[in-house]
Symmetry: C3
Subunit: 340 residues, 3 copies
C-alpha cells in the first residue's frame, strides 16, 4: 500500500519519502523493511535508528531522523488502525456446523458462525455475525448479541445476557455459582445462586476469567470495560463502563467499581467495597471500604504517593531500628549526666 494512501486514511502528514511502499505493520523491534511502525513517546526515539522499518508514525516530526515519518495526532491509535487494516480479515459467516448441537428451541440470527463441537441450549439466542467456536457452551435462555466472538472452550451458563461486539477468550467461565454458604450445625449449606449476569456492549474478557452469577439480581460488567486473563469477578459485583481490570485481579462479592477505574495486576478488592469512578489501584494492592477517587497502593491501600514514601522507608527499617537504639543509649547517658 502506498504511504500516501495511509496518510490520507489516518489524516496524517508525511515527512520524507512520499513514494514509500508499505507492506506490513510491526512493533519497532520486530519491523522489517517495508513495515510501518510507531513510537508512543520521545523515550523510544533512540530505538528508531536500529529499526528496519521503512516509516515511523510520530506525534511530532523529528528533525535529523534518517527515516520517513508520518505525523498523526495519536500514533498508538493510528498503529492499531493499521494493524486492523492490514491483518484483520472481514468476518465471513460459516453458518451452523452439522457437528454443532443447537437446540431447536434456540433463536439463531442470520450470518452466524457456529463451529463444530459447540453447544447451544434451549431458549438461547445468538445474534447476527456472532462467532461461536468449538467447545463453547451456551446455557439455557442465555442471550448473546451481534458481532460477538466466543473463543474455544468458553462456558456461558444459563440466564446470561451478553451485548454486542463482546469478545470472550478461551477458558473463561461466565455464570458459575457465586461462593455463598450459610454455616449451621457444623457445616456449610449452599445458598442457591439463582441470579444472572449482564455483560454490556464492547466488553472484552480475557482467557481463564471467572465471572460468577448473582445470588439474586445480576452481576454486571459495564459497556466498554476490559478484563484481563485469570481475573475473578464474584457474585453481585457491579463494574461500571470503560474500566480496565488487569490480569489476576480478584473482586469479591457485591463490590461496586465505577467508570474509568483501573485495577492493576493481582489487585484484591474485598467484598462490599465501593470504588469511585476514575480511581487507580496499583498492582498487588488490597482495597476495602469506600474508596474515593484517587490513586492508591498497598494492602490495605493508602494514597499511592504516601505508599511510595512508606515503602522506601520499609527497606530501611533495620537502620531505623538501630538509630532508635542509638538514641536510647545517648538519652540514658544524658540522663545519667543530668539527674533530676
Amino acid at each position: 500500500m502506498k504511504l500516501t494512501e495511509l496518510a490520507s486514511l489516518l489524516n496524517g502528514e508525511i515527512f520524507g519519502n512520499h513514494d514509500t511502499e508499505i507492506t506490513g505493520v510491526s512493533g519497532i523491534h520486530e519491523a522489517k523493511e517495508g513495515d510501518i511502525t510507531f513510537i508512543a513517546s520521545k523515550k523510544y526515539l533512540k530505538d528508531i535508528g536500529n529499526s528496519r522499518a521503512s516509516c515511523v508514525i510520530v506525534k511530532e516530526a523529528v528533525a535529523d531522523l534518517n527515516k520517513t515519518q508520518l505525523r498523526v495526532s495519536n500514533p498508538h491509535l493510528a498503529f492499531a488502525k493499521l494493524l486492523e487494516r492490514f491483518y484483520i480479515k472481514p468476518i465471513k459467516p460459516t453458518g451452523i456446523s452439522r457437528d454443532a448441537i443447537v437446540s431447536d428451541k434456540a433463536k439463531i440470527a442470520d450470518d452466524v458462525s457456529i463451529l463444530p463441537f459447540s453447544y447451544i441450549a434451549d431458549g438461547a439466542s445468538i445474534g447476527k455475525n456472532t462467532i461461536i467456536h468449538p467447545y463453547v457452551y451456551i446455557g439455557e435462555n442465555t442471550f448473546v448479541g451481534e458481532k460477538c466472538i466466543l473463543y474455544p472452550n468458553v462456558t456461558v451458563r444459563e440466564g446470561v445476557k451478553i451485548g454486542d461486539r463482546v469478545i470472550i477468550h478461551s477458558g473463561s467461565v461466565i455464570g458459575s455459582d457465586g461462593f455463598g454458604y450459610v454455616f449451621e450445625d457444623g457445616k456449610y449449606h449452599k445458598i442457591p445462586q439463582i441470579g444472572g449476569i449482564i455483560i454490556e456492549d464492547d466488553v472484552e474478557i480475557g482467557s481463564n476469567v471467572s465471572v460468577d452469577r448473582a445470588t439474586t439480581g445480576n452481576t454486571i460488567i459495564g459497556k466498554g470495560t476490559k478484563i484481563d486473563n485469570l481475573t475473578q469477578v464474584a457474585h453481585n459485583v457491579k463494574i461500571g463502563s470503560n474500566s480496565i481490570i488487569v490480569s489476576q485481579v480478584g473482586i469479591a462479592g457485591s463490590s461496586e467499581i465505577g467508570d474509568y477505574v483501573t485495577l492493576g495486576g493481582q489487585v484484591g478488592v474485598a467484598d462490599h467495597t465501593k470504588i469511585e469512578s476514575g480511581t487507580m489501584i496499583g498492582a498487588k494492592s488490597g482495597v476495602m471500604g469506600h474508596v474515593t477517587k484517587g490513586a492508591y497502593s498497598g494492602t490495605f491501600a493508602i494514597p499511592h504517593r504516601d505508599w511510595l514514601k512508606a515503602q522506601a522507608i520499609f527497606a530501611k527499617l533495620p537502620e531505623l531500628n538501630k538509630r532508635i537504639r542509638d538514641l536510647e543509649e545517648k538519652i540514658n547517658e544524658l540522663e545519667r549526666r543530668n539527674p533530676e
Copy 2:
C-alpha cells in the same frame, strides 16, 4: 405461596399480615412486590424501608417496621432454603446422550444425565443421579459418586476418586500433574506424578480451579470443604473438612490444612506448611511453617491484631523517620550543651 406455609416450613413466627402471598425470593435491593427477603443483621435495618419486598425474614422482630416480618433462628439459612424451594428444579435424569462418548468398560449407574460431547474413559464409574455436562472429560478408572454435578468444560484426569454430592464448576482441572522436577546436568527432569486425588462428599469446587494429583499417594480435599474460583491446590496437599478456601488462593505442595480453616482471597501457603484446625488467614497473606490455631495476616503472617497495628504505623513511616531525625538533632544539641 402463602406466608403461613413458609412460616411452618421454616419454623418461623409471623409479625404483620398473615395473609401475605409470596411469589419470589430475592436480595433486599433487588426485591419486587411479592418477594420475601432477609436481613443478616441489624446493620441492614436501614435498607428495609427502601425495599419493595412484601416480607422480610429477621432474627428478632423489629418494632415500628412498616413491613411484614418472619422471625426465624437463622435468617440467612431460611433465605437459602427458600431460594432452593422456589427456584431449584428437581433433577430429571436425561440418560446417556448418543452424542457422548462413554467407554463400554465404564460403569454407569441408573438415572444419570450424561450430556452430549462428554467423554468417559475406560474403567470410569459414574454414580446415580450424577450430571455430566458437555466437554467434561472423565479419565480412566476415575470414580464419581452420586448426585454430583460436573459443569461444562471440567477435566477430571485418571485415577481420581470423587464422593457424593460434589459440585465442580466449569473450567476446573482435577488431576493435572504436580509441579515436580529434579535439577541435574543443567536442566530440570520431570518427576512422574503417579498419585491420585480424593475429593470427599459435599465438596464444592469453583470455576477454573487447579487440583494437582499427588506424586505418590493422594492429594485430599476433605468432606464439606468449599473452594472458590481460580484456586491452586498443589500435589500431595491435604485439606481437612468444612474448610473455606476463598478465590485465587495458592496452596503449595505437601501442605496440610486442618478442619474449619478459612483462607482469605489470594492467600499463599508455602510448601510443607501445616495449618491447624480453626485457623483464619486474612486475604492476601502468606503463611509458612507450622501455624497454630488463630487469626493471622501479612506476609509472612503474624497475628491478625498485631498486623492491623503494624499496618497502621506502616503508613506513618515517613513521619516516624522524621521524628527520629528530630530526636537526633535534639540529642546532638543536648550533648553539645552537656559535654562529658
Copy 3:
C-alpha cells in the same frame, strides 16, 4: 524387580539385603512393603523408621539403619527414574479418531494419537507420537512438534509454534489476545494482536495457564522452562531457558526473563521488566525495572536478606512507635532541665 537390577540401572550401591524384591515406588509416608522410597536430605532421616518401605535411596549410606539402602549420587533423580520405569507406559499411538475433526489441510505425522472431540484446523501440523486429547483445539497454521502431550480442554489458537516433548495441561490457553488498548474519545480501542507464540522444546505448562500472543512478533518461552498452574504470561513476554515459574505468577507485557530464573508463587512482574539469568524472586513479591542477578523479595522487591530483616521489624512497628514516643518525652524532660 530385583533390587540388584535397579542398582545397576541407577549405578548405585546396595547396603543391606541384596535379594530385596521391589514391587513399587513411593514417597516415604505412603510406602508399603515392597516399595522403594528415597530421602532428599538428612533432615528426613527420622521419617525412615516409620516408613514401611523395603529399601530407601540415599546419597550417603546411613549407619545403624534398620533398612536396606541404595546409595546413588542424586537420590531424587533416581526416584524420578524409578517412577518412570515402574509406572509410565510407553506411548501406543491410537491414530486419528473418527470422532475428531481434522482438517484435510492439516499435516498429521505418523504415530499420533488424536482422540475424539479434538479439533485441528486448516494448515495445522501435528508431529510424530504426539497425543491430542479430547476438547483440544489447534488453530490455523499452528505447529505442534513430536512427542508432545496436550491434555483435555487445552486451547492453542492460530499461528503458534510448539517444539518437541512439550506438555500442556488441561484448561491452558495458548494464544489468547494480548491485553492492548488505546484510549481515545473516552473509550478504549482494541489493538489487534496479530503476533504469535513460540514454545521451545521440553517446556511444560501447567493447568489453567494463559499465554497471550504478541501484538506483533512473538511471545517466547525458552527450552526446558517449566510453568506452574494458573500463571499469566502476557503479550511479547520472553522467558529464557530452564526457568521455573511457580503457580499463579503474573508476567506483564514485554517483560524479559533470563535463563535459570525462579519466580516464586504469586509473584508479579510489571511490564517491560528485565530479570537477569540466575535470579530468584521470593513468593508473592512484585518486581519492576531492571533486576540484576540475585535473590529478591517484597513489593517492590529488595534483596531477600534485607527484606527478611525489614519484615522482622515490621511486626515490631507498634513497639518502635512507642520507643520513639518515650524518647520524645525523655528529650522534652532533658530540655526542660537544660534550657539553652
